[in-house]
């Protein structure tokens, strides 16, 4: 079975995509979970669909369209919610829908049928071209470099933004940079699980990893491993059962999330029950 899998280039690419995307996903997902910015990350991801539409309309690789678009979305949502007198969830919700709308209009303007549109929304790990793999790898390296350089600053703003400000950090700039890294992670994940389901893979591995971790680096490593495990399991199951890969990965992750929490619940139960 294994040899058969590796005999195909698309299978090798799929496995590589699963492993490479897990790196960004576990590291940035850790910040998303501890800083509780899941909704804002979902907003950035969905707004990014506008970039896919734009890239498609201009006839370039849609991933190249997503990068500037999602970075702009991250900055706009971040600034609007921090500086303007707009409730954060209103700002996010607005961008969420407007980004999707821009994407739909752009795709509609381009004559002809958009065959792989579905794969951007829901991912298709079996059709990742080599160029995209290179890009995912580059973004991984960029994310690792920034997180390594700014680890103490990111820890400080995640834990207590006010204390970070008192310590002399430029918290708004750091927060916007963090949102930009989330935007780049969204780009990495689009091929694997698609825009609609990115948020699950950003949060679930990190949320499970947090249960056992005493430090952010420890949590990141666990989240990367879990994310790779979910992606590869999902990929394998989807091949076995001939079902959609992105959705299968999410279901595997969701199932493990429930399992981890019910296991914790069962373990705590004797303490709760009398006697």
């Amino acid at each position: 079975m294994l040899q058969e899998i590796f005999a195909f280039e698309f299978m090798r690419n799929a496995l590589l995509a699963a492993l490479l995307s897990s790196v960004a996903c576990g590291i940035i997902g850790t910040y998303v979970v501890v800083k509780k910015i899941g909704f804002i990350s979902g907003g950035i991801a969905h707004t990014a669909f506008g970039g896919i539409g734009l890239g498609y309309y201009l006839g370039i690789n849609p991933l190249l369209g997503v990068i500037p678009f999602s970075l702009a979305a991250a900055l706009a949502i971040g600034l609007l919610s921090k500086k303007a007198k707009v409730a954060e969830d209103t700002a996010i919700g607005t961008f969420w829908a407007v980004g999707m709308a821009v994407g739909v209009i752009c795709i509609g303007l381009k004559p002809g049928y958009a065959p792989d549109l579905f794969s951007y929304l829901f991912g298709n790990i079996l059709t990742v071209p080599s160029f995209d793999l290179w890009m995912i790898m580059l973004l991984d390296l960029l994310i690792i470099a920034v997180v390594w350089l700014l680890s103490k600053e990111f820890l400080a703003i995640s834990f207590d933004e006010e204390y970070a400000a008192v310590s002399g950090l430029k918290t708004t700039a750091l927060y916007l940079l963090m949102l930009c890294l989330i935007a780049l992670t969204v780009v990495v994940m689009v091929r694997v699980v698609g825009i609609v389901m990115v948020i699950a893979l950003l949060t679930i591995p990190a949320a499970i990893a947090r249960m056992q971790s005493r430090s952010l680096p420890g949590m990141m490593i666990r989240a990367v491993v879990l994310s790779a495990f979910f992606s590869i399991c999902g990929l394998w199951l989807s091949c076995l059962l001939d079902i959609a890969s992105g959705a299968t990965i999410i279901l595997v992750a969701g199932f493990c999330f429930l399992l981890a929490h019910s296991w914790r619940f069962v373990r705590l139960l004797p303490g709760v029950l009398p006697g």
Binding site: V34, K152, A156, F159, A165, V166, S167, L169, R214, S215
Partner: protein
Amino acid sequence: MRPPVIACDQLSVDLGGVRVLENVTLSVGEGDFLGLVGPNGGGKTTLLRVILGLENASAGSVRVFGGLPGSFPGRIGYVPQRLFFDREFPISVRDLVLMGRLSKKKLFQHYNTLDRTRVDEAIHAAGLERLIERRIGDLSGGELQRALIARALAGEPELLLLDEPTASIDPQMKTTIYDLIEQLKERLTIVLVTHDTALIGRYVTQVATLNVTLELHEPGATAGRESLAGVAAQNPVFLNP
């Protein structure tokens, strides 16, 4: 002559259209220990936030170490109310205290041996050696409070600002925290915001009551719980403004 550590001159602060501080004039000199008491909503925390540069003055001026608030983060240690962060955050006591070294480091700079030495010293001063690897979620309220004080000390501050360090801690623990603070007053300038009017009289060199406006009491030699209890009794607003 060196400028006072904190100098507020006719300071007023409005937050969301409400006047929280009015005409506050205050001077804290080197080595002073100021106790700030007053009702909830009286502006105690706001005054600390102005000193830290987190809120701006609407009128009047504030100078900290002779400069604008926020100019010298490395010289101030801040112990916030411990309710404002996630107790489930995956961080050990050591890494929490290490955060106190932030103000001494430049952007991109990683912590080094000196930082770790200062952290060990601060943890020793707070008596937390046994808990150094413990996750903060597993600490008791009093232990967490000590860890937050250790974090402030790790930055080698000259001025220590403490916001309700004994709120929601059992009475026995309160005394140990005050004992710790008493050791620190030998070498630091301290501003302490608190509800414990009965307890602080033993420790502070001056007391101010803050209820939008500030009233300074100089307990001097007669400082004691009696005079402070008197302050509380004369201020029925202690219940609420």
